[in-house]
């Protein structure tokens, strides 16, 4: 694979990463969110795969396969199950910040990501590192989704978005990620998803709803 093709494909995958994050902020149906999440996982796997091909590392190749299995296969499946259990009310009806405003906030967050990650890029200027701001932007957008959504499943999506962003930053820094680290992170995420899935189930049983605001009832 020539250098320019590698760069083109890498940037394309990064663009896909950013586009899917925006869509996850934009759309509110959980089913759509999960589909978009799977696409994003694929984009992430492509980034890892490209890095593996370019640097010729077996470990990175394994990471790519792992990402593909976990983020395109297992996590969406788990999420879909959680949503299926929730039933028809599977729509983020009223996020804390309205959609138009949150889209504008995302725009600002992206520019912020660019501003803060410039020093990182300048440490080792290369084709891959110059895409780091995109990873940081995905992290910030994920965090924003996490804090503005009312329903536990869509908060979960925000959490996963953040994790995708962190992985992307890891992959894009020239060193790449060690297999063990990636494995550990993957297990962590899996665990978190399972825990949250159980929590969602319990919440629905207790309150008949997955609105996180209801947790305030537990306070006193």
């Amino acid at each position: 694979m020539s250098e320019t093709t590698y760069v083109q494909l890498l940037y394309l995958a990064c663009g896909g990463l950013l586009l899917t994050s925006v869509l996850m902020l934009w759309r509110r149906e959980l089913a759509v969110l999960i589909r978009v999440f799977a696409v994003q996982g694929f984009a992430l796997a492509v980034i890892a795969g490209l890095a593996a091909l370019h640097h010729g590392g077996i470990e990175l190749g394994a990471v790519a396969v792992g990402i593909l299995v976990l983020r395109v296969g297992i996590l969406p499946w788990l999420l879909r199950r959680a949503v299926a259990a929730v039933g028809p009310a599977s729509r983020e009806t009223r996020p804390l910040v309205n959609v138009a405003a949150s889209l504008l906030v995302a725009a600002v967050l992206t520019l912020l990501a660019y501003a803060v990650s410039r020093p990182l890029v300048e440490l080792a200027p290369a084709a891959a590192t110059s895409a780091i701001p995109i990873g940081v932007a995905v992290v910030l957008i994920g965090f924003f989704v996490l804090i503005t959504r009312r329903r536990a499943p869509s908060q979960l999506v925000g959490f996963l978005l953040m994790d995708n962003g962190i992985t992307a930053v890891g992959l894009l820094t020239t060193a790449g990620v060690a297999l063990t680290v990636e494995l550990g992170v993957a297990l962590d995420v899996l665990l978190a998803v399972l825990v949250l899935q159980i929590l969602t189930g319990r919440m629905r049983e207790t309150f008949g709803d997955t609105d996180v605001a209801e947790l305030r009832e537990l306070h006193d």
């Binding site: 309205n98 405003a101 520019l111 912020l112 660019y114 501003a115 410039r118």
Partner: protein, 670 residues
């Protein structure tokens, strides 16, 4: 004395003469005499300005004229630009005033002060030292205040507007005073060359204090958010020819101050200053046009639009300072800002004067009560339509060229200009673009609702066209607008060399007569070709349709009324209803107050007898920033009343104690 000085001198003498005429002539002659002589004064000022822009500088010193500092007059090319704009606006307003003031503002005081206002503005930009600048600035503020208050005995809201204006303009003056005095303290004397020398060894903190204080002071005169609150109150309440002079000429002096202090005297300075300027500009542009879009008072709408346009100018200034490392783009941004300022002066004159004609002809400036003016007031309608086209950044309009230049400058800022620049440029482009979009909606509303359709009130139905002097003035202003729209190149090369002089770099925009071609970056635009092709296409189309496709005459027919009888004006969309969707979209930003009162019939709660709907869009910044401030001030004032008991001895005592205290302080510290 060179031509510049001669013309300036003539302008000043004519101005004083006009003021004397205003105070001394009989009532029926007054408007004509003052108008004619002030117009000549404005024309002389324009000539002086153009001569200075062409390179004939003028310098004179009158050490005895003002205690301590004396008066220095320096007319360089920067002064020349502002002098020419002020003179031109004064010329048109004065001609308009012949017809307009005779009916509405023909008192001895307003007529005598009007020419004085013109010459104080000219003196502000010609002042060559801080002392003279400050004195002229204050005189200008006082003159404009008197003019704003012209109609105070007829309408109480004029007095309220005057109070806001008086307080805000003096706070601005205090800021300028503080900033310039700090600056002068570091220099040998208070002339501009001495300040330029002093700027080199000014500590960064002091320089920042000077810049921020003057930015706030001059910015308040330019109506920059959040110091804009006086502008949409005071500009509409003044007589219309004064409104035009204030909105098209006086606000420019705020820009003059920022350019003079920031670029010329301080020589650029630190990057965050310009980031601040850019941010203030962006906020002003969007906030101003948003409120203009919601306004139903025609002159208030124009006042908010002034805030918007000054915001755009500040975006240009900020961008120029921000990318000062890149001389080509910086020069382009500065030239774009200055061109936009000139364009704004041209179209805002047209719009305010046309609004004055409407107020006079139709008896109202409330858009909800206007409409149907294209029949009875054809000239005014055409002038306002062309002015609105010029203001809404559509081709072949005036503002289109300057906004195109501004966008070119923002687009060509390279990533090497630093993270701040890279992050700010897309935001600035978005702000300019949103402003442009909202400006289109605003002026479609102002023109479409105010002038087209059918009359919404008896006054509008009985409207009549203005006298010849007023339409003539409108015609001149429209002609200037049109020339600026299609041939900006005649001005742009001058502005380019002016900008490069201020930034000490090469010229940013070249010209070959009809095409604006940027130098150093790629980009070309020919407004003349655009206008000719568009008009040609439209005429060709008319010919084809009329001669080839349909040859029948038009038949008059009824409008579609759903078969329910003739339509009345009450069924028309009003300005309020026109802006309602926008108001809903920007609900979170403007937070309108809406009340609906439903009165039910006595017989049944299901029958509605009357519905009352009230909708007010208040200035949110005013409510959040100024209301608490005013409350705090009044609390303090109440506390201070205890000091004033009415005893004369006590008052004298205060003076005595303060004097003694100061002396003791001196004795201790020295």
């Amino acid at each position: 004395m060179n031509p510049t000085g001669l013309a300036l001198g003539v302008a000043l003498v004519l101005g004083v003469f006009a003021a004397v005429l205003g105070a001394a002539t009989r009532k029926h002659l007054r408007a004509r005499a003052v108008g004619a002589v002030t117009a000549l004064c404005g024309a002389a000022g324009t000539i002086a300005g153009i001569s200075a822009m062409c390179g004939t500088r003028y310098y004179a010193a009158f050490p005895a004229l003002l205690p301590l500092s004396g008066v220095t007059i320096t007319v360089d090319s920067t002064s020349g630009l502002f002098l020419a704009v002020t003179g031109a606006v004064a010329f048109v307003s004065a001609v308009y005033g012949v017809g307009y003031a005779r009916a509405d503002a023909n008192g001895r005081l307003p007529q005598a002060v009007f020419p004085l206002f013109v010459i104080t503005m000219m003196l502000v930009v010609s002042a060559g030292n801080v002392g003279a600048l400050l004195v002229c600035w204050e005189l200008m503020a006082l003159c404009s205040l008197v003019l704003v208050l012209t109609e105070h005995h007829r309408r109480p809201e004029v007095a309220r507007a005057g109070r806001w204006y008086a307080v805000m303009t003096h706070l601005g003056f205090v800021a300028i005073l503080a900033g310039l005095l700090v600056f002068t303290a570091a220099a040998d004397d208070d002339t501009f060359p001495a300040l330029r020398v002093a700027a080199h060894h000014l500590s960064p903190t002091t320089a920042s204090v000077v810049f921020v204080a003057t930015l706030l002071g001059f910015g308040s005169k330019a109506g920059v958010v959040p110091l804009h609150v006086w502008l949409p109150r005071a500009h509409p309440e003044a007589p219309s020819h004064v409104s035009a002079l204030m909105s098209a000429a006086m606000v420019n002096l705020g820009v003059y101050g920022i350019v003079r202090v920031g670029f010329d005297l301080l020589g650029g300075g630190q990057r965050w200053w310009w980031l601040l300027t850019l941010a203030l500009g962006g906020i002003s542009a969007v906030y101003g046009i948003l409120h203009a879009a919601m306004s139903t008072d025609l002159k208030r709408l124009l006042g908010y639009s002034t805030t918007e346009n000054m915001g755009l100018v500040l975006i240009g200034l900020g961008a120029a300072g921000l990318v000062a490392d890149d001389p080509v783009v910086a020069g382009l941004a500065l030239a774009a800002a200055l061109l936009h300022m000139v364009n704004h002066a041209a179209f805002k004159t047209v719009l305010f004067l046309a609004a004055g004609s409407v107020q006079r002809g139709a008896g109202s400036r409330d858009l909800d009560a206007l409409g149907g003016l294209s029949g009875p007031m054809p000239f005014t309608t055409a002038a306002f339509g062309l002015g609105a086209l010029a203001a809404s950044a559509l081709p072949p309009g005036t503002a289109f060229v300057s906004e195109w230049l501004l966008l070119q400058a923002l687009i060509h800022a390279r990533p090497s200009a630093g993270a701040a620049a890279v992050v700010m440029m897309p935001i600035a482009v978005a702000a300019v673009a949103l402003t442009a979009g909202l400006a289109v909606a605003t002026f479609v509303k102002a023109f479409g609702v105010g002038f087209l359709g059918r009359p919404r009130s008896a006054g509008a139905a009985a409207a009549r066209e203005s006298p010849a002097s007023m339409t003539a003035a409108l015609g001149i202003a429209v002609a200037v607008c049109a020339v600026l729209a299609v041939l900006p190149t005649i001005l742009l090369s001058q502005l380019g060399s002016l900008a490069s002089g201020l930034l000490r770099t090469g010229s940013p925009a070249a010209m070959d007569g009809i095409v604006v071609r940027l130098v150093g970056v790629s980009g070309a635009l020919s407004p003349l070709m655009l206008a000719v092709v568009s008009v040609g296409a439209a005429l060709g189309l008319v010919a084809v349709v009329r001669l080839v496709l349909t040859r029948q005459a038009r038949r008059a027919a009824r409008l579609w009324d759903c078969g329910a009888g003739p339509l009345s004006a009450r069924m028309e969309y009003t300005a309020t209803s026109f802006a309602e969707p926008l108001q809903r979209v920007f609900d979170d930003v403007v937070q309108p107050e809406t009340d609906v009162d439903v009165t039910h019939a006595r017989e049944s709660a299901y029958l509605v007898e009357a519905i009352e709907f009230r909708n007010r869009v208040l200035d949110r910044i005013e409510r959040w920033l100024y209301t608490p401030l005013l409350r705090a001030v009044s609390v303090w004032a109440a506390a201070a009343r205890r000091l004033a008991t009415g005893s004369v001895h006590r008052y004298l005592g205060y003076g005595f104690y303060t004097l003694c205290g100061l002396l003791i302080l001196l004795a201790v510290t020295r």
